[in-house]
Every structure is written in structure tokens, then in C-alpha cells.
Symmetry: C2
Subunit: 211 residues, 2 copies
Amino acid sequence: MKSKSPEIDQSTEEKIKQAARELFQTKGFSATRSRDIATKAGINLALLNYYFRSKEKLFNIIILETMQEFFLHLSEMLNDGSSSFEEKINKIVANYIELLTNNPDIPIFILSEIRQNPEELLSKFKMKEALMRSNFMFQLKEGIERKEYIPINPLHFIMNLLGMLIFPFIASPMLKKIGELNKEEFLKLMNERKNSIPVWILNSIKTNPSK
Amino acid sequence: MKSKSPEIDQSTEEKIKQAARELFQTKGFSATRSRDIATKAGINLALLNYYFRSKEKLFNIIILETMQEFFLHLSEMLNDGSSSFEEKINKIVANYIELLTNNPDIPIFILSEIRQNPEELLSKFKMKEALMRSNFMFQLKEGIERKEYIPINPLHFIMNLLGMLIFPFIASPMLKKIGELNKEEFLKLMNERKNSIPVWILNSIKTNPSK
DNA sequence: AAATGAATTAAACAAATGTTTAAAAATTAT
DNA sequence: ATAATTTTTAAACATTTGTTTAATTCATTT
């Protein structure tokens, strides 16, 4: 059933996807109602199934696209041949804080969904290779051999970096309460972290910082 | 309707709560069916409403108890007058890695729920006071004044510590895939972090580690 | 302009789901 | 032992919710 009016089609199709994206990302699959998607998209309920067959099929599209968006550019940043390990960290941190500032619900959405359906979803992204065999990882190991960095299991390093990077966005409502921060103040803190996380994470593994 | 057979009563009531706890914590409120709770608890469906009035009331009890469990002992650890800042970090890290090892679903459960209902839930826990006015925070600021630690916004420090501590459990399925780890290997890594996180987090803020 | 096909709509359907009811069973009190 | 109360059960109920149907509107083609 290919349409003959692609603009209008894609317009409604895109309206549905956008509404679905917002609702699925903030409320999850089960708490999101087909009727809420339709209302938010400003379309008739039946159009949802007309365009996407089922709520579940629509959801699969959204989660996949969301993960693709999240991992977009990661491989490039990890394998940029012209940058040092520390430069890569700067780049990655800045990139992801920017992304998460604009899409703060993505991490909990992705991680919750992976938790419910690990094999299915993880099989579609070869993160193991992308990460562990990257130039970034090679440079870390190199730095450890050179005694520039303390001996650390690269996986621990990844956990620390991702934890510092992603956790504040997952826990933002709690952190805002604890720090008595409004939205702007919180975002200002997140922006500070673009520069600070690289300093902290590198300090945490540097062997002899008193050069 | 107070019961006259407290042991048996609490037994079924507790069976329901335990089943509800497991299901709510792993699947969330919306994806958990009353019938699944009843089946898992081995009781008749109607007993759920007999004991707890509604699925929602049962859920409120579970989320509250879960949060209480999670914050249990935190205040004491933060305000132990006889321990240093670094000792407190050791204690807190070990305590929470132990807790999270046994209850890996708690963080995503709590953080998701807070995200849906921030005011309601956060108002019931005075985390701001517990944390920001703790001896732990005082000791951090003291260390900064003494130039022992770099100037860091205490909130940033909290984010880093909690990120390192909690994030790996939230992202465990992904990390297992990336690191090709089975359950035991993952838990071994988490156990290593009991000793390592204090080292890393302190290195990240120490001013002159070349003593 | 008529005809064809796509897009949209209102309504209905069927299954799932939280909740209630009324009777039976089990327990406790008299 | 009997009566009263609590606990448990099977069934029904009322909504919600994902999906489908059939008719209508809209756009495109001939």
C-alpha cells in the first residue's frame, strides 16, 4: 500500500512516530496507550494500525531508532585516528552531554527495555566489537603499559565513564531535589561536566600527576 | 478488619507483598498484572484487593518500602562521627555494592518511579538534609579548604560517586554483553569495585597525590 | 468529469484487566 | 458444639485497551 502522496503520508506517519517516541520514551511501552499516541499526534486511532500494523511494531521501530540515534557517531569518535586518548574523552563527553541534555529520557528508556529484552536488542548492535576493539581502548591499554595510567580493567573504566556521563540524567529529578536546582541550574551543572568529567576520569587513573 | 490469626494473616499478606515486590521491581507498575501477582503468590486473585484494596495501593506500599530499604543506614554512614571522609566512602561503597548485588533491579525501579511521580515520592524522603547537611559533606568541604581535594561542587562529587556505584547495575545486561561476562564474572567485577571505587573517586579529586 | 486508489473516520469488537460480589471454607470466640 | 468472624474462592462485572471493519473523504489518474 505505497502511497501516492508521499509528503502528506510521511507527514502523518511522522506525526505518529513523534508522538509515539515522546510517550514511549517517557512512560515506557506498557504505560503508553494507543489512544494517547493518536491524541498526541492529532490523528484518528485507526491510523496507528493503518500505518504500523500494531502498537508493538511501532514500538520496535521507535526503540531501534532511539538506540541508533544514541550510538550514532560513537564508532567514529572511538576510532578517530588523529586524536589522542584524552582528546577522544573530551569529544565523547561533550557529544553525549549535548545529546542527553536534549533527550534526557533516552537512557532509562533504552536501559529499561534492554533489561526486559536483552538478547533481542543487544544482538542488533555489535557494541562489544565497536568498543573493545576500538582505537580508544587500544590507546587506554597503551597508556597503562606506559605506566601513564594505573592498571585498570578497561571495563571498569567504561563503567566509570558511562556512570559519570549518564547517571546524572537518569537521576535528575532526585538530584534537582537534593541540590535545590531548577531546570536551568541543573543544565548549567551538566554543561560544567563537559569540561570536568575528562579531568576527573583522567585524574582517577593517572599514575603520577606530579610531573 | 483486624485479623485474629496474625501469623497466618501475615503469611498470605507477606506472600502477596513478596510476589508484588518481585514483579513491580522487574516489570514496573503498568506491565505487572494483578493476576500475575496472585499466581506468583499462589493465592486467589480477590485476596489482593481483600488485603490491599487495589493494585495501586499495593504498589505504593512496595515502592515506599523499597525506597526505605535503599536509604536504610545511609544517614548513619554519612554521619558516623568516628570515621574519616575516606573511611565513609569505603563503608558506603561496600554497603551499596552488597545491597545492589542482592537487589539489582532496585535502582531502575526507584528512578523510573521518581521520574513519573517526583514530588509525591521525593517529599517523603528528606534526602537533601540527610546528604547536604551530613558530616560526610562537611568533611568533603573541609578537605577542599585544606587544599587536600580540588575545588569541586559537592553535587558533582555525589553524581560521580553514585554514577560509579549504581550505573553498572542499571546497565548490567549491556555490560555483560560488552565484556562477554556471565553472571559470576559480572559479580566478581562488582566485588572488585568495593575496593576500587574509593581509590578512583579519591584520585579524581586529590590535589597532590605525590606525597 | 468520472473512476480509481489512498487516507481518514466513526463505530464496533474482542480480549485483557482491575475490581466486586456472594457464597463457601476455615478459624476463633462463646 | 454452636455462633460469629475472618479468610478464601469462583464467578461475574465494568472498564480499558489494542485492533478491525466498513463507510466516507480526499487526492490522483485517465
